[in-house]
Symmetry: C2
Subunit: 400 residues, 2 copies
């Protein structure tokens, strides 16, 4: 028998060698207890969480929790069915209503994960003979949606307006085209020049899909994301989002004003051929989304946190992924993977959890310590975070 | 601008024509209230549910509900992170322990949906130069996993042992091969001849993956599925399963004894690049799985229900998809789509919900009314179901 796993041998070997050095495995950490949106017990130690996407800290909101508990009691633990069969409960309709209201759009379609939202929408709407034009630093779920579909894929250099135009110019004028962008790119926390890119796409007859996973709830006047903040939301054909970041649970969605949008529910395979979200999940999501509509105070505090951390880390001598704070993600650039892993572990020992990101997930072969702020981080916590970063950075020799 | 949705116009037109006839849309039913695993309010009417995959009726189990509510309170509404970053909580470890115990296997890996389990495992382990040999009636998630991977795809006629052997014989002896089978095929409720097929696969040097989504919990001595019932579980390399059927919530998994299995957690994109399941979901799943280990009484009652319904429908003159009850799914064959839709609606008016399945989802262009039984259906309910089927069947002219 040919072992299908033999292709993973080099990786297994590489991993064994790394773990043999005695480092803590950054990819198998367990949150033993979770105390709040910003604190957990890891390896028996109370730890500040600075590497979750819990931007608005809704996971422990009292109304959210109660909505989930009530739905469990009233509707049971799961739907055991697809949305197109027995899996549409009242709660699924309600969360779609909440999304339509949140984005002020005509249609909202909820998927069981954010990954499946990108996978399904992209592979379904861009078919044989169509083109998908995407930023080369797009999320894996966008690439996987491209791979599952039959469209031609054309990538352009990250956030490069001219590169986008050059690609658009070369495509057949009458072909179907879908430009796929993200509001915030999660590796560096930088934002797309959506105003210019959306305008360009329209000029060349392309439709536009924007993934606003990392902006929902706090970027833009109503928290609708970067497209709202840059005044081009009305020209975006499809917004993709997730419940597993600011909303604080799991699931994905697409909102749109396209008059034919509802047909997606019958043709989109990752929507049709999967069980719908449990009643408790849609209830927590709907409650959270409605609260996010009135979250301007929390939003302001999150921005303050992000700016304070960005300035503090810069002042301490760290090299950051962006010149200023554009989002709730701040990426600290490490000189190499080895020292990145050491710094990650040193921070964990200080009681601070961040995400270690390494190639190939990162742009330009960088090793990053990615920090994501939460609206529930207190100013004291941000001060404490800076102190821990500084101590660990000196110990590992990242800063002087 | 070329509208990417114009490709759906024929389908939109066809659907409009159907709905203009005044029929109830079978694909947009809403469960307004859910009263129990077997009853709900649809269109304002109390309805017996005979078209869910809630085989063991765990969705309203008191211990399951309480576990979910407690986890919401103690761990929050979501993890907001991937399993390989901040998304592994104590509860994710616990549900994987429960799965290992349930299947008596060394490794268990939980995905956020069952769809993503098939998508991820198949596309990751069968790569360029490998072959996937699959039953032509395989579930969409299996086909999508094939599409996302780079292996060569070879389909064989449904449940045809000779056809499988013919395909295996033609493939290069030393190539990597993965035979993909399902224990129960959900359209007709028939089961695979796993004993012979697994033996054949091994004989030709192939690894074997079996999707036991529709058998977990009640087929086989310990509810491990058709492979257990036919005595070949030890020769199956990967078992795929779901939390959205017998377990009663949402999620998917793979269990395996392969010594290198854990590397999947780093290379399987639909596992890495997605948020993990909320604490309440893994808590309900773990509790449910542990109770299913001791569910032999419920299992026996479900078998009784399935046999009673099969015999009753046969005696009433309906044509069924299988000669006897092989699983908890009983498919009633309709003469054509039009009368199938009429019968589906007549049953709904009687207060009975079944699944309408139509081409291309069904084998051989059939229209089916698919019934799935639940261990919580009482004997009285099964009698009532038979009475309603008979009345509706006579009214629509399916039976004399």
């Amino acid at each position: 028998m040919t072992d299908l796993f033999s292709k993973f041998d080099p990786l297994i070997e590489q991993r064994r060698a790394l773990l043999d050095t005695g480092v803590t495995d950054p990819f198998s950490l367990v949150m033993e207890k979770v105390l709040s949106p910003t604190t957990a017990i890891c390896n028996g130690r109370e730890t500040i969480l600075l590497g979750t996407y819990n931007y608005m800290g809704m996971t422990f909101d009292e109304d959210v929790i109660k909505a989930g508990q009530d739905a469990l009691r009233d509707f049971g633990a799961g739907t055991t069915g697809s949305r197109v069969l027995n899996g549409t409960y009242q709660g699924h309709k309600e969360v779609e209503e909440a999304l339509k209201e949140f984005y002020a759009m005509d249609h909202a379609m909820v998927f069981s994960t954010g990954y499946q939202a990108n996978l399904g929408i992209i592979s379904t709407i861009a078919g044989k003979g169509d083109y998908v034009i995407l930023d080369i630093d797009s999320h894996a779920s966008i690439y996987d949606g491209c791979k599952m579909g039959d469209a031609e894929i054309v990538a352009f250099r990250h956030n490069d307006i001219e590169a986008l135009e050059k690609r658009l110019k070369r495509l057949p004028a009458d072909a179907g085209k879908l430009v796929v962008l993200e509001g915030v790119y999660s590796m560096l926390g930088d934002i797309a020049p959506l105003d210019k890119m959306v305008k360009l796409a329209k000029q060349y007859g392309a439709m536009v899909l924007v993934d606003e996973a990392h902006s929902m709830g706090f970027i833009g006047e109503h928290g609708r994301g970067v497209a709202e903040a840059q005044g081009v939301l009305d020209d975006v054909d499809f917004v993709i989002g997730t419940f597993s970041k600011s909303v604080g649970t799991v699931g994905g969605f697409c909102v749109s004003n396209h008059p034919k949008f509802e047909i997606m529910r019958l043709v989109c395979r990752p929507y049709v051929f999967t069980a719908s979200l449990p009643p408790s999940v849609v209830a927590t999501a709907a409650t959270s989304i409605r609260k996010l509509m009135h979250g301007s105070n929390k939003r302001a505090h999150l921005w303050e946190n992000s700016k304070t951390l960005h300035k503090g880390l810069t002042d301490a001598g760290f090299e950051l992924g962006t010149k200023e704070a554009h989002s709730a993600i701040i990426a600290v650039i490490m000189p190499d993977l080895e020292r990145g892993a050491m710094m990650w572990e040193a921070l964990l020992e200080e009681g601070l959890y961040v995400n270690l990101a390494r190639p190939p997930a990162t742009p330009a072969g960088m090793t990053l310590l990615r920090c994501s702020l939460c609206a529930e981080h207190s100013s004291d916590q941000v001060g404490e975070i800076l102190a821990r970063f500084t101590r660990a950075g000196k110990r590992v020799g990242i800063i002087a």
